[in-house]
Amino acid sequence: MPAMNMLQALNSAMDVLLDKHPETVIFGEDSGYFGGVFGATQGLQKKYGLDRVFDAPINEAAIAAMAIGMAAKGLKPIAEIQFADYIFPAFDQIISEMSRLRYRSAGQFVSPVVVRSPWGGGIRGGQTHSMSPEAFFTHIPGVKVAVPSNPYDAKGMLIAASEGDDPVIFFEPKRIYNGPFDGVPDAPLSSWAKHPKGEVPEGHYRVELGKAEIVREGEACTVVTYGTLVHVAVNAAEKAGIDAEIIDLKTLAPYDIETIVASVNKTGRVVVAHEAPRTSGFGAELAAQIQEECFYALEAPVFRLTGWDTPYPHAHEWAYFPGQARFIRALQTVTEAR
């Protein structure tokens, strides 16, 4: 199997989808000829033509609306929002329309759109190229939310999302497009080629949404996270020598409650982690649900390790990002409680 980085894996997923399904169309700002500002759609316009992979005007609401209309007519659009920070002009189309079309029409019309968007910080993008707005979307009934953490999942989940029947907000942790990241900003970049999930089949396969994966087994505590922080968590656990069980959630809506509960019932201690601000972040949902379901198993409060309740700062990015040091401290706090 070839080694692919995450961008190549996403590109390959779209290649497979375009090839297999004539209804697949792909568009976004700079997504056509140029292949996207990160290159995720590179070469696809050339291969499949201007009418299947094309540039869209700088209007994220228009991009979402066009996708909804197309999907209602049976196409399978994959729309790219250039940065997750720029998804908000499309928020109304997503919450009021995309998420509800099936419901309000009692199934007569559907809009199984995939919205891809580079997501998260760690690339010195400042407050408008770093956001992790996933929590907003998990509060919208009718959309699914997915965040892969490696090339293998990225490809398989994108195919599953596009072949599914529901709208999916598909966030791509851009910090790990080119290699996993252990949470130490100055360390040399590692490569996906050395990571087992960097091996990606060429053809069609699916990684179904809604299933989490235990990426590291352990007894001392559970870490529930997704995206870039999966790697930071693994490295922090190694570094701290803490026997943490680490769950890569992958899909946030609907999230895989069974896997979480089983793990927490075993460990009794939990860290939930994300880059987004703390207040009303997705960690709140996880903590609330875990305390409800595992109340009698918990030996310490669910610990929320998150970004701060501030915009994402530019120069002080690493004071904001929940990196290795803060992760280790969190693991120690929950495992040492009582």
């Binding site: 228009a62 079309l101 029947d165 529901d166």
Partner: protein
């Protein structure tokens, strides 16, 4: 336009309650005067059509000029009949709402031609994305009235399972999209749908309608930009009935010469049409559909009309505009005008008209009895309670399953 120094300006309508409305300032282009270019004409060569007013029926109710679609008396009578039915249905539903049979209602009084004529000019396979005020389309496309009512009273046979407010119809079989309560959102969706028709190589087109107030919405710009850039086979209609809720057209229009002229900056074919002239609406829609089907791209149409009644059952227009505005409104009543046109050449008479009204009233009354036999909002039966958990996703996930169980349904 200026008093020589910058100052804060908020526009206000010419007439408020108590004022005597007078539309003599309107200087409307006369019926028959507008030229009808070939449907594939370049937008830049017909900008006058966005500034004037395309009309066919003159003040003597004669069809005049190049835009006359030359419809047969049968078709005209059909149009008349749909409009009469629309009006009678609306009136009846309003009454029922007042009696507490439904939570809400919205009439289309005075603007029936906009919906009915357009629907008749389109193919039934064309997808329509209406706002809440084009119920006329449903009658023109032959939707079962009992079904419409079952939706409005949210009963066990409501095809939307009680999920939507009354008048927010959906009818996939009739290529009638799901109406959104959010203004403007469907305008760009219609463009996307039309693009997909073209992508699939189909002959089908899409059409959408928004109100004058909604031209201010962000999604208006999304739709117009998409339609222009991708030359989508779509007809984008603005029903300028001159009022949003209590807000007059000037708040959305600002200093625009006409709503139709908003299309010119996008390079779209842009028509301003007498919306109370059945023949003009029919002809303009046909022209635009032709243009779209032949690869000429989108057309933007302003339908100049007047909202003769309240915005909805939630407001009282006498609080914000003169009561008799509609009476002095120069473009009249679309039903009266078409009726008089038909009478004018001997294809209709008062007696037949009365009979038509009676028939339609009877149909509506009878339909409502049947609809009510399937339940009402207050007394039920409604769609079973467990259905509120369906159709959120294609399949129920654990969260919805648990919540449904929690509610015991």
């Amino acid at each position: 336009m200026s008093n020589g120094q910058s100052r804060f300006h908020v526009p206000a309508p010419p007439f408020r309650p108590g004022d005597a409305p007078d539309f003599s300032h309107l200087d409307l282009q006369k019926a028959g005067e507008a030229k009808r270019p070939d449907p594939l004409t370049a937008p830049a060569k017909m900008t006058d059509l966005a500034m004037g007013l395309i009309g066919v029926l003159d003040h003597n109710h004669q069809a005049v000029g190049e835009w006359d679609p030359r419809l047969s008396p049968e078709v005209l009578r059909e149009g008349l009949s749909h409009m009469v039915l629309t009006r009678i249905y609306d009136a009846r539903m309003l009454k029922l709402q007042r009696q507490g049979k439904m939570s809400f209602y919205m009439k289309s009084l005075g603007e029936e031609a906009v919906a009915v004529a357009a629907a008749m000019a389109l193919e039934k396979s064309d997808m329509v994305f209406p706002s809440y005020r084009q119920q006329g389309i449903l009658f023109a496309r032959g939707r079962n009235i009992v079904d419409m009512m079952c939706h409005c009273i949210s009963n066990s046979r409501d095809n939307l399972k009680g999920r939507q407010l009354p008048v927010h119809y959906t009818w996939a079989e009739g290529n009638f999209f799901s109406i959104s309560g959010n203004l403007g959102t469907q305008f760009p969706q219609a463009v996307g749908y039309a693009m997909a028709c073209a992508y699939k190589g189909e002959d089908t087109i899409a059409a959408s309608w928004i109100g004058d107030g909604t031209t201010a919405a962000p999604d208006f710009h999304a739709a117009m930009t998409l339609a222009s850039t991708y030359r989508a086979p779509v007809i984008l209609n603005v029903v300028n009935n001159q009022w949003a809720i209590s807000t007059y057209e000037g708040i959305a229009k600002g200093d625009s010469p006409t709503f139709a002229s908003k299309g010119l900056g996008y390079g779209l074919a842009s028509l301003r049409v007498d919306g109370n002239d059945f023949l003009a609406v029919y002809a303009a829609t046909k022209w635009a559909a032709d243009r779209a089907r032949k690869g000429g791209g989108a057309t933007f149409i302003e339908l100049f009309t007047y909202r003769a009644d309240a915005h909805s059952t939630s407001d009282d227009p006498s609080r914000y505009r003169p009561k008799n505005e509609f009476e002095v409104w120069p473009l009249g009543d679309p039903i009266e005008r078409l009726k008089n046109h038909l009478i004018g050449f001997g294809e209709w008479d008062e007696e037949r008209h009365e009979k038509l009204e009676e028939q339609m009233t009877a149909l509506v009354v009878k339909s409502y009895k049947e609809a009510e036999s399937h339940g009402t909002l207050h007394d039920g039966p409604l769609s079973p309670t467990h259905t509120i958990f369906e159709d959120v996703y294609a399949t129920e996930d654990w969260r919805l399953r648990r919540q449904r169980q929690d509610l015991g349904v």
